[in-house]
């Protein structure tokens, strides 16, 4: 993993703010990808709290 990290061209600060919970960003009722479609598994509807999961 260290080799991989070394190849990333990121140079900014490691003091980062927490991300905003994107479940609150997604349009209500959208098929948000935590519970569904996402080829890269990027999702923040983790925990299945969206309308499709429940």
């Amino acid at each position: 993993m260290k080799d991989y990290i070394a190849r990333l061209k990121k140079v900014g600060s490691t003091e980062v703010s927490p991300i905003v919970d994107t479940r609150k960003n997604a349009t209500t009722g959208i098929d948000c990808n935590a519970c569904s479609a996402c080829d890269c598994a990027c999702s923040d509807c983790a925990g299945g709290n969206c309308s499709n999961c429940n």
């Binding site: 990333l8 990121k10 980062v16 990027c42 999702s43």
Partner: protein
């Protein structure tokens, strides 16, 4: 200054790679380097053990990924197992096998709680261009149609690569809508990692992606009554500010992921932990070697060495970002893209 992120893992969701075999050969597939071998299938015993461990660690949602999870022989048995725990089980699928009558009737007996449909193309030309064969085209269309009818609120996901033109994105959106899709998610094509080399052969250049998105967005918004999700996976500062304000206000923007706050865990088929699923081959830990209970998993994920690795990986892309008003919803997009992107493209939004 607001409170800073401590880079600790607080997992609530698991992405379980149950196989690498796939009936498609999408040109932009991040897992191409695995060779799609059926010998890499996860055993049901391993899958159950992982489910138990993550349940103990607080996870209540598992998404099966692959490969193509519908080809995993233990699919339905594992679904029953998760229901009993109880854990919500979903999967990301290309929908092809759902066009098979025998598989479809089996699915109806053991349906999944949730399911994501990744559409590669609606007409035969698009499908063949991305998937590499047209043999499964009709079966896949039938599978998509069946799923969209079965899940009344279901939408589709499309990757906007350089194999699909803006007009074709609109065509896919229109056709999917006619088949019953209620929402539409458009994601950019991230770079992939092949044997230590990154590959951006199928990613649109940033300017092309921005131009294409500006072109398709009004159509998608109208067609789906606003139920769309744009996943740029890029630094947001490359987009026009009025566009960003619009999609933010309409809650149609998703640019950060579970890796950015360590809320998700990804397992490979052999029980190895991956930082995220497109980092195939980069293993950060392994079942039975580094943990065998939920508590041990949490302790392992939060050991100081790993936390420090995440701190480095999740740093802002540029020195500009610390001043940016959007840094908590941007974070530069997909981490993997930063194998190729240069920090100089970033500039802070102050308003």
């Amino acid at each position: 200054m607001d409170k800073l992120y401590d880079f600790k893992a607080r997992p609530t969701s698991l992405w379980l790679t149950v196989n690498r075999s796939c009936n498609f050969r999408c040109k932009w597939c991040y897992a191409e380097c695995t060779g799609f071998k059926s010998s890499d299938d996860m055993s049901l015993t391993t899958a159950k053990r992982i489910a138990n461990i993550v349940y103990e660690a607080g996870v209540r949602h598992i998404t099966l990924i692959g490969g193509e999870p519908t080809l995993w022989p233990s699919l339905f048995e594992f679904n029953d197992y998760c229901k009993a725990l109880p854990i919500n089980l979903g999967m990301v699928t290309n929908a092809c096998l759902f066009g098979d009558d025998e598989f479809w009737s089996q699915f109806l007996k053991t349906p999944f709680k949730s399911l994501g449909i990744s559409v590669k193309g609606i007409n035969e030309k698009q499908f063949t261009e991305t998937v590499g064969t047209n043999n499964l085209y009709m079966e896949t269309l039938l599978g998509i149609e069946r799923l969209l009818k079965y899940y009344p609120n279901k939408g589709v996901n499309v990757v906007f690569s350089n194999l699909v033109s803006p007009d074709e994105v609109i065509e896919i959106a229109e056709h999917s809508r006619k088949m019953g899709a209620k929402s539409f998610q458009l994601s950019s094509c991230s770079v992939t990692l092949d044997d230590q080399e990154y590959n951006d052969d199928y990613s649109l250049q940033i300017e092309q992606f921005v131009d294409g998105l500006m072109r398709v967005y009004p159509h998608l918004h109208e067609l789906y009554n606003g139920n769309i999700l744009i996943e740029p996976r890029l630094p947001l500062c490359v987009f026009p500010v009025d566009f960003l304000n619009k999609v933010k206000e309409r809650r149609q923007l998703l640019n950060v992921c579970h890796v950015q706050n360590r809320s998700g865990i990804v397992f490979d088929t052999d029980g190895s932990l991956l930082p995220y699923n497109s980092m195939v081959g980069i293993k950060i830990g392994k079942l039975d070697e580094d943990f065998s209970t939920g508590k041990e998993l949490l302790d392992f994920l939060n050991n100081p060495i790993l936390v420090n690795d995440y701190k480095e990986m999740l740093r802002y892309p540029s020195s500009e970002c610390i001043h940016c008003k959007l840094n908590n919803i941007c974070r530069g997009g997909c981490i993997q893209n930063w194998l190729a992107l240069e920090p100089q493209i970033c500039h802070a939004f102050y308003e």
